[in-house]
Amino acid sequence: EAGVAQSPRYKIIEKRQSVAFWCNPISGHATLYWYQQILGQGPKLLIQFQNNGVVDDSQLPKDRFSAERLKGVDSTLKIQPAKLEDSAVYLCASSLGPELTDTQYFGPGTRLTVL
């Protein structure tokens, strides 16, 4: 069974530029999560999708971050414009069911550096 796929693996941009990340969850997984992990910290949830609907985006900085999961499968996370403090690893995870106690399977992450 293929795991969660993410691309790109690394991205370096200058502040005020835009960037987009892509995630393909495990086949059949209805729930998809995006996390931000700043160096030295644990992951922080940005947004949770159930199929193509948003369940929780309370910690998503909506003035600059956006995410979509149009067909209930792949998802993209966009930052526009980027700030220095957005430098982090962006992790995508998926789970079969909607419960927060369902096992979440994580992708390898995208490491973003904002200069």
Binding site: G42, A93, T101
Partner: protein, 111 residues
Amino acid sequence: GIQVEQSPPDLILQEGANSTLRCNFSDSVNNLQWFHQNPWGQLINLFYIPSGTKQNGRLSATTVATERYSLLYISSSQTTDSGVYFCAVVGEMDSSYKLIFGSGTRLLVRP
């Protein structure tokens, strides 16, 4: 919101040694999970352990929910155990429930 604290923040072991990692949480929870993030960044769920004790090979975990802590035991450590260990609980933050991670324990196992 709920606070999740882990100790120690860093740990260095010689291969073959045993260790205990601790996770304290500030509010009552009915769930707790332990994760391992390897040196290449891959995060894997180790245990879902809302209460009691579970064992998986050289790893075991105990959660005492009434006293708001959980322990992860690593026995006969191997270099492949290196990485960061996170505990996480489902708690309320920003008016919704979500999985909240501690800041982790960074483990280095030397050969």
